[in-house]
């Protein structure tokens, strides 16, 4: 008989949770948002021993407080959506820190399995975990796993199936007791709560009252008005005894409970050898040398991508060079055929011009992430990023922005607060993506000089920095400080890297490409009817009068909203040559490149901004960038005219 069940994966960040998720679901997964929240929701399915299993990969979290969206989403999912069982994945090499969350998950009183991951590394760092003893203490099945090799994955599922079939639900866990003073207060509050109607266990609610959890207080006030005031007497009492905030008292008790468990189950063999990861850190995170090494690594990345991308791009172009002539042969030059051709042009251009650069870029980036280097970059650059109001982790979306702005904006979810997410997303739209690189390199790099092109990248970073600083001051909301676990360097896992890359490329193919192609056909239609000429005329005071560019750039800039690299392609089509020196002076080229980089996010990026932050903010960002680029373009043109 076939049965549908659902499971949730929970755990700290960086414990191999997504690797296990990938093993379970393969490519049968989709990434979306939790309803109404900019928190990534990964869901996938698999079929195992007669079960259709729906797997939800909850965000990586350290706790179950209401302060972060990720933690709220996780606890609500486990308590309210009631999955058949929860797999809590813990990093066996950092058991103490990981068990802090485990205890909180246990308090939700759902059937649970502990996946003791990276069990193969415990020996290396000189610890030994007594699994039997741990199983005894927690009262839940423990399955040792080595996610990167896929070891133990089916055991996890087997344990889960046993759990839901043989054992009555939610009876296997044990209650980990806090100290007597805290337990007394928990008891009191449980009594007060009586028969409260809530999907959360009463004991959990009581603990959360002591932790001053605003969301739980709301639930109690709604269900049992009046009880809260009585319950809060307990928090006051605890604070009197301990002299700390009662939430800290509870956290401290939890830490204490965990360290007691650790004392019982973990045997540490003191080793005097410095671990390899620490040795690497002494080089890569060195106070001084860390920075030149970072610069060299970045230069290498861009060098490799540029070389490989050029080769790959040419390779693809040769393969598909026959498509357009073939199309024209069949469909001719009618208006409808032209619109259709713009769709094919769009698909081809993405294949030749964007994919060859975006693909290797993401492979290398996720290789560095999986290895552990990106966390080091966040560490090295945190101070710098703080100057623009975000912390070190924002480096990752910004870096992704050099590939394609769409996945870059989507990846801003890694930031903690709404303000930081929006600010980072805004800044990523200003980073020259692969399409804008086509303009910078194809125009400035080729005809003005490579140093001018590189100079534009530096100039771009300067502008991003200044705008970030201003936006940080203006935007409402709060920013947080960097709190990040430093993962050990580890051998990168090819499968993880490829799946991560695929997920981003998927954003590019499924979100960016259709929007771009469809709107491209619409604009092509307008163009064919000659409607864009009047737009160009209308824009000429700006394009000609202020930027000092030919009037035709008005049309280019309209097309550029679809895909930035169209600016260059259309220019070539309009003048019938790729020798742009015929119509543009070096100063004009630089001006056009700068305007192209900043003047508006492309249509696909605007849609993503809209989805993530609402249409008001999407429009605000777009309009700001239009006016900003207009101002900047004219100034640059004048300054360069005087200088050169």
């Amino acid at each position: 008989m076939e049965q549908k069940i659902s499971i949730a994966l929970a755990g700290n960040p960086n414990v191999g949770k997504s690797v296990i998720f990938n093993h379970l679901t393969g490519l049968h997964q989709h990434v979306g948002n939790w309803p109404g929240k900019t928190v990534e929701r990964c869901e996938g399915t698999l079929y195992y021993k007669g079960y259709f299993i729906d797997v939800v990969d909850l965000p990586g979290i350290y706790s179950l407080t209401p302060y972060s969206m990720e933690e709220m989403v996780s606890r609500e999912y486990i308590a309210i959506r009631n999955p058949d069982f929860v797999i809590n994945i813990v990093d066996a090499t950092h058991l103490e820190r990981n068990l802090l969350l485990t205890l909180q998950l246990l308090e939700l009183q759902k059937p649970m399995i502990l996946s003791l991951n990276m069990i193969n590394l415990t020996e290396k760092i000189g610890i030994e975990i007594n699994e039997k003893e741990l199983e005894e203490i927690l009262g839940i099945p423990i399955v040792p796993t080595i996610a990167i090799y896929g070891t133990g994955i089916s055991k996890l599922l087997n344990a889960g199936i046993k759990l839901i079939n043989n054992i009555p639900k939610a009876s296997n866990y044990k209650i980990i007791k806090y100290g007597k003073e805290v337990e007394d207060e928990i008891e009191k509050i449980i009594l007060l709560l009586g028969n409260i109607n809530s999907k959360y266990p009463k004991r959990w609610l009581a603990i959360k009252v002591l932790e001053k959890d605003a969301a739980v207080k709301e639930i109690i006030t709604k269900e049992m008005p009046g009880v809260l005031i009585e319950a809060e007497k307990s928090t006051i009492l605890l604070e009197k005894i301990h002299g700390h905030d009662s939430s800290v008292v509870v956290a401290d008790e939890r830490c204490h409970a965990v360290s007691q468990i650790i004392k019982k189950v973990v045997r540490i063999e003191v080793s005097l050898r410095v671990p390899l990861s620490e040795k690497l850190d002494r080089v890569f995170c060195d106070r001084i040398w860390g920075y030149p090494i970072l610069a060299i690594i970045l230069a290498l990345i861009f060098g490799i991508i540029f070389e490989f991308g050029n080769w790959f791009s040419l390779f693809l172009e040769n393969i598909f060079s026959g498509v357009i002539p073939w199309y024209e042969n069949i469909f001719g030059n009618s208006l409808l055929a032209l619109i259709g051709q713009s769709a094919i042009d769009g698909i081809l251009a993405m294949m030749f011009l964007v994919l060859p650069y975006v693909l290797p870029f993401y492979v290398i980036l996720f290789l560095l992430e999986d290895w552990g280097y990106l966390a080091r970059v966040a560490f090295l650059l945190d101070g710098l990023m703080h100057k623009i109001g975000v912390h070190g982790k924002a480096f990752i979306p910004l870096m992704l922005g050099y590939g394609c702005s769409v996945p870059a904006c989507l990846s801003c979810k890694i930031m903690e607060t709404h303000k930081e997410r929006f600010l980072t997303a805004f800044l990523t739209t200003l980073i020259p993506c692969a399409a804008r690189t086509v303009i910078i390199m194809g125009l400035v790099g080729k005809f003005v000089g490579i140093f001018w092109a590189l100079g534009l990248y530096v100039f771009n970073l300067l502008i991003v920095f200044i705008l970030g600083k201003i936006a940080f001051k203006i935007l409402p909301g709060e920013s947080t400080e960097l709190i990040m676990e430093m993962p050990d360097f580890r051998t990168p896992n090819i499968k993880t890297i490829l799946i991560q890359t695929w997920l981003r490329i998927k954003d590019f193919i499924y979100i960016a490409a259709p929007i771009v192609i469809i709107s491209g056909m619409a604009v092509q239609g307008l163009y064919a009817f000659g409607l864009l000429d009047s737009v160009a005329d209308f824009l000429s005071p700006i394009t000609v009068g202020w930027f000092g560019l030919p009037a035709a750039t008005g049309i280019l800039l309209i097309f550029g909203i679809l895909r930035k690299e169209l600016i260059l392609l259309m220019l070539a089509a309009l003048i019938g040559t790729v020798n742009f020196l015929e119509i543009l002076s070096p100063v004009q080229m630089i001006t056009l490149a700068i305007v192209s980089v900043f003047y508006v996010p492309c249509v696909a990026t605007i849609v993503v901004l809209w989805k993530e932050f609402g249409w008001k903010r999407a429009i605000a960002v777009s309009l700001f960038e239009v006016f900003f680029a207009i101002g900047l373009g004219g100034l640059v043109f004048r300054a360069l005219t005087i200088l050169l």
Binding site: Y62, S63, T65, Y67, H94, L95, E96, R97, L100, E211, K212, H244, D245, S247, V248, A251, D252, C255, V258, S259, D281, C285, R287, I288, G290, Y291, A375, A378, F379, L380, L381, D382, G383, L384, H386, H391, G392, E481, L482, I483, M484, E485, M486, D488
Partner: protein, 73 residues
């Protein structure tokens, strides 16, 4: 004395955390509660500190780290 005053490799115990309950709570959730042993692994030239606490390595922004009052034992 505050955490940022420590030198690389120095150890101490947490005495208390100043600032709002939010910062206190976040740190407590990560196991940084009073009397916890803490060791500075390294400080970045630009800002944050890497510390070792409860057998794990954590990076804290400098602003947050300067809210942690410590005692050298």
């Amino acid at each position: 004395m505050i955490l940022t005053n420590l030198k690389n490799g120095q150890e101490a115990v947490i005495d208390s955390v100043t600032g709002g309950t939010n910062a206190t709570k976040r740190l407590a959730d990560l196991g940084l509660t009073p009397k916890t042993k803490i060791k500075i692994l390294r400080k970045a030239l630009l800002g944050p500190l890497e510390i070792e606490v409860r057998g794990a390595k954590l990076v804290l922004g400098r602003g947050l780290a300067s809210k942690i009052i410590i005692k050298i034992y």
